[in-house]
């Protein structure tokens, strides 16, 4: 096995994810990003909620917290407030982050605390049997929408930008090298960084939607993604059914823990 996997994983493999699950590709992209960042593992925390993607914390060789459903961000906020010097990575699924933890997500974006949120968007609740999630595209089938969903499409990145996150990016598992670079940039960003990763679920999503082969799902991402730079030059009609990947938004943050430290210092009389 590769050295970086030995370094950043606990070695309790194989993991529980199904054959062809995209989560493993995100996990290896994260390990490569960690290798580039060269952080002290004792100063890193991985926090996850509940769901397929959230099982990742069981395999990472850093400090990890596997928390309540949808509540990964509140736990991560607590960790960062208590120990602002720690590097916090939050791993969440689309159901975990957009549905059950939707409100926490909005307020984490608003607060703009220095942490990295990686949302594994596989369009489905995989662990509980393939129910449709808020991020299931319109008209797609699942066990609870056998004739196709009637919910309109929902864009998590637009919500994050609207709620005030200072770094919002979208990656996908076909562009694994770019995903690694996005994780590195998101970590280096001094505020709340959101990366929505388009992952695949061949078992619960692919089989219902006539793309049961994992490789076909990965190739679907290859054919239907366009970079942000290219999308800016295309007409809105051309971009409509494409997935735009890359850094979608970035601004200079007013970092919460630093502002809080300043407040404490001022009240203690250290700074007028």
């Amino acid at each position: 096995m590769k050295e970086i996997y030995k370094e950043y994983f606990r070695g309790n493999l194989p993991h529980i994810w199904c054959s062809g699950c995209g989560n493993g590709i995100v996990m290896s992209a994260w390990a490569r990003a960690m290798d580039q960042l060269q952080l002290d593992k004792n100063q890193c925390v991985g926090v996850s909620g509940i769901g397929c993607s959230s099982r990742i914390t069981g395999y990472l060789d850093i400090n990890t917290l596997h928390t309540a459903h949808g509540r990964a961000l509140p736990f991560a906020t607590g960790v960062k407030m208590a120990k602002p010097e720690m590097h916090v990575f939050v791993f969440s699924g689309d159901g975990d982050c957009a549905a059950i933890g939707g409100n926490h997500f909005i307020h984490a974006c608003r607060r703009d605390m220095d942490m990295t949120l990686i949302v594994f968007n596989n369009h489905i609740y995989g662990m509980t049997g393939g129910q449709f999630s808020p991020l299931t595209p319109f008209g797609k089938k699942s066990t609870t929408s056998p004739y196709g969903t009637v919910d309109p499409d929902f864009d998590l990145c637009k919500l994050a930008i609207g709620a005030g996150a200072s770094f919002v990016a979208r990656g996908d598992i076909f562009h694994a090298k770019q995903l690694t670079d996005l994780i590195v940039e998101a970590h280096n960003h001094p505020g709340f960084a959101v990366i929505e990763v388009m992952a695949t679920c061949p078992i619960s999503y692919g089989r219902h939607n006539k793309i049961p082969k994992p490789a076909d799902m990965v190739n679907y991402l290859k054919e239907n993604t366009v970079s942000k730079v290219r999308a800016d030059k295309m007409t809105p009609e051309e971009v409509a059914d494409k997935i735009v990947v890359g850094i979608l938004h970035q601004h200079e943050p007013l970092e919460y823990t630093k502002e809080y430290a300043k407040l404490v210092k001022r009240l203690q009389g250290g700074e007028k």
Binding site: K2, L13, S19, I25, S28, P202, P214, V218
Partner: protein
Amino acid sequence: MAKKLYNVTVQEKLCKACGICIALCPTKVFGATAEGKANVNNADACTGCLTCEMHCPDFCVEVEARENE
């Protein structure tokens, strides 16, 4: 200059037969076993692009530059 060669290995114990490496490899290095797991058919064709390594969801493919050839 001679073509640079690579060693490609698949850990059969970890492979879950998803077929991603077989489909994505641009030079068709991999074949499939009877169970559908990946095996290395033609390591000499490998160009070292690391597509298989980065896209293996089970971390079982490894590509290394061949030494002294």
